[in-house]
């Protein structure tokens, strides 16, 4: 039981990191109809950038804020220079974003090398909570709290703000939104940057837990794409539920059957898609 609870905390923390990745991926897909395969690169690059800032003596929180800003600006440039040119062509989108993953991966290898790096746990969370004879690393609990907080922020943003309303309308019918006088380019750039910032935030949060290493962007991308597919394309609420499912299956799969952890996740995805082809919360396209 204790073993189970301790791993539940790990599973949930991992789930929240996946959620921060998947939420952006899902919103960007829902609105822009672009599957941004370079989204995992934003996640890991943010970790590396924050690592460099923290190595230079900055505290964790400042490094985090700066890394998120750097990645957001970087994402804006990527969107303006490349993504905006491939609307409507899925093949171009895949080729472009996969190309970006390789280029950014090599760039990271060149700058930060091939070793496993990790960001030190911020001082105020560098302790464990003892409860009912079990120990919980405080930082993981913090990550879980952040995931839940951001789910709430996303809900508020989507349901209660004018910008959220425009984004929802855009997911329904972007052309009509533009015919009502809204600038599609600005909405697209804004949503892309917002999604990248969420991934960057997740990447920095993940620094003390998962660390950064070459090819990690693929792992996080594949898992978060599975989350998006299980949750339903375009639905960040679905992503929230699905990230917990995938987080748990991943953590417990690794413990009980390490060689099959990945296979479990795929089997789960296939099973869910057989029952509900649009994913748990996917919209049915008319």
């Amino acid at each position: 039981m204790e073993f189970f609870i301790a791993n539940t905390v790990s599973g949930l923390a991992y789930a929240m990191l996946l959620f921060l990745m998947a939420a952006g991926l899902s919103i960007i897909f829902g609105l822009m109809k672009i599957m941004n395969l370079a989204h995992g690169s934003f996640f890991i690059l943010a970790g590396y950038v924050a690592y460099t800032f923290s190595r230079s003596g900055m505290n964790f929180w400042l490094s985090m804020v700066l890394a998120v800003i750097v990645i957001s600006i970087f994402a804006l440039i990527i969107e303006k220079l490349f993504i905006s040119r491939v609307h409507g062509s899925e093949t171009d989108q895949v080729l472009l974003t996969v190309g970006l993953v390789f280029v950014l991966g090599d760039l990271a290898l060149w700058i930060w090398g091939g070793n496993f790096l990790s960001i030190p746990v911020p001082a105020i969370f560098d302790f464990s909570l003892d409860f009912a004879g079990m120990t919980f690393p405080a930082y993981r609990l913090f990550v879980i709290a952040m995931g839940i907080l951001f789910a709430f922020v996303l809900w508020y943003f989507e349901a209660k703000t004018r910008v959220g309303m425009i984004v929802r309308a855009g997911v329904d019918d972007m052309e009509m939104v533009s015919a009502l006088g809204f600038n599609v380019k600005i909405i697209f750039s804004g949503v892309f940057i917002f999604g990248a910032a969420l991934a960057a935030f997740g990447g920095v949060l993940s620094g003390p837990i998962l660390g950064m290493y070459p090819m990690m962007e693929w792992e996080i991308l594949v898992n978060s794409m599975i989350v998006v597919i299980i949750g339903g394309l375009g639905s960040w609420k679905g992503a929230f539920i699905a990230s917990m499912i995938v987080g748990f299956v991943d953590i417990f799969g690794r413990i009980y059957m390490p060689t099959f952890a990945m296979a479990f996740i795929f089997i789960l995805m296939v099973a869910i898609l057989m029952v509900k082809p649009t994913g748990l919360f996917g919209r049915v396209e008319s």
Partner: protein, 233 residues
């Protein structure tokens, strides 16, 4: 108000509009008729910027619209009630109106959400329903309300009676007549010739991307040849 001169529009390589000319004066209501596939929606979309014409000119209040993006054209004062209504299904009725509401510096009448609710009381009742929970007629009312809240100087309506029951069509017709009284200039695409001839000051018939006839509603209603050849009645 608006004048199209020799407008040519394409979808990919297929040439759809072969030099359309038409004009709507201030306060005038013009009906655009023609068989399915004649290019009526393409004409509407060319004005709204959803299709970019390759040649020709569209002058709106002395400004050229071709090459402008849909949001600029909307802001310049063109409102659109699209074919198929296209209300936002994941927005409530109220949000569908709120998203469009804006002040205009030039239009004479300034619509408010309350006035739209007076025009369509059913929308007020269903204010908290999602867009896709409405009947076809209610969605059409919502689409009209949404376009009016843009407070446009010129309104495009694409087949507002499509797929609606006769009672509802009658209602929509009266609404269009009410809106016309506010002095709003309109271009209405219709398959329903009675509705079109009732609301329009002038009728234009389009065939294969070209204007083939232009005249008064009464002239059309008494020209059986025309009705048969171009409108199939």
């Amino acid at each position: 108000m608006i004048e199209l001169k020799e407008v040519h529009s394409y979808y990919g390589h297929s040439h759809i509009l072969h030099g359309v000319n038409l004009k709507v004066n201030k306060g005038q209501c013009v009906a655009l008729l023609g068989r399915n596939g004649a290019g009526k929606t393409t004409t509407i979309h060319s004005i709204a910027g959803l299709v970019v014409p390759k040649e020709g000119a569209i002058a709106f209040k002395d400004k050229e619209l071709i090459g402008k993006t849909p949001n600029h054209i909307s802001k310049a004062g063109v409102g659109l009630v699209p074919q198929g209504r296209r209300v936002f299904s994941s927005l409530t009725v109220k949000e569908n109106l709120l998203i469009a509401e804006r002040k205009s510096t030039s239009s004479e009448k300034q619509w408010t959400i309350e006035e739209i609710y007076q025009l369509f009381p059913i929308l007020k009742e269903r204010e908290e329903n999602m867009g896709n929970e409405l009947s076809g007629g209610q969605q059409q009312m919502l689409a009209i309300g949404r376009a009016l809240l843009l407070n446009p100087d010129f309104l495009l309506m694409d087949e507002p009676s499509e797929g609606l029951a006769p009672v509802i069509i009658e209602q929509i017709k009266n609404i269009i007549l009410d809106v016309k009284k506010t002095g709003l200039s309109m271009l209405i695409v219709e398959q329903n010739i009675d509705l079109a001839c009732c609301v329009a000051d002038e009728v234009i018939i389009l065939n294969k991307g070209e204007v083939v006839w232009q005249g008064l509603p009464n002239e059309l209603l008494h020209n059986e040849e025309l009705l048969k050849v171009h409108l199939g009645v």
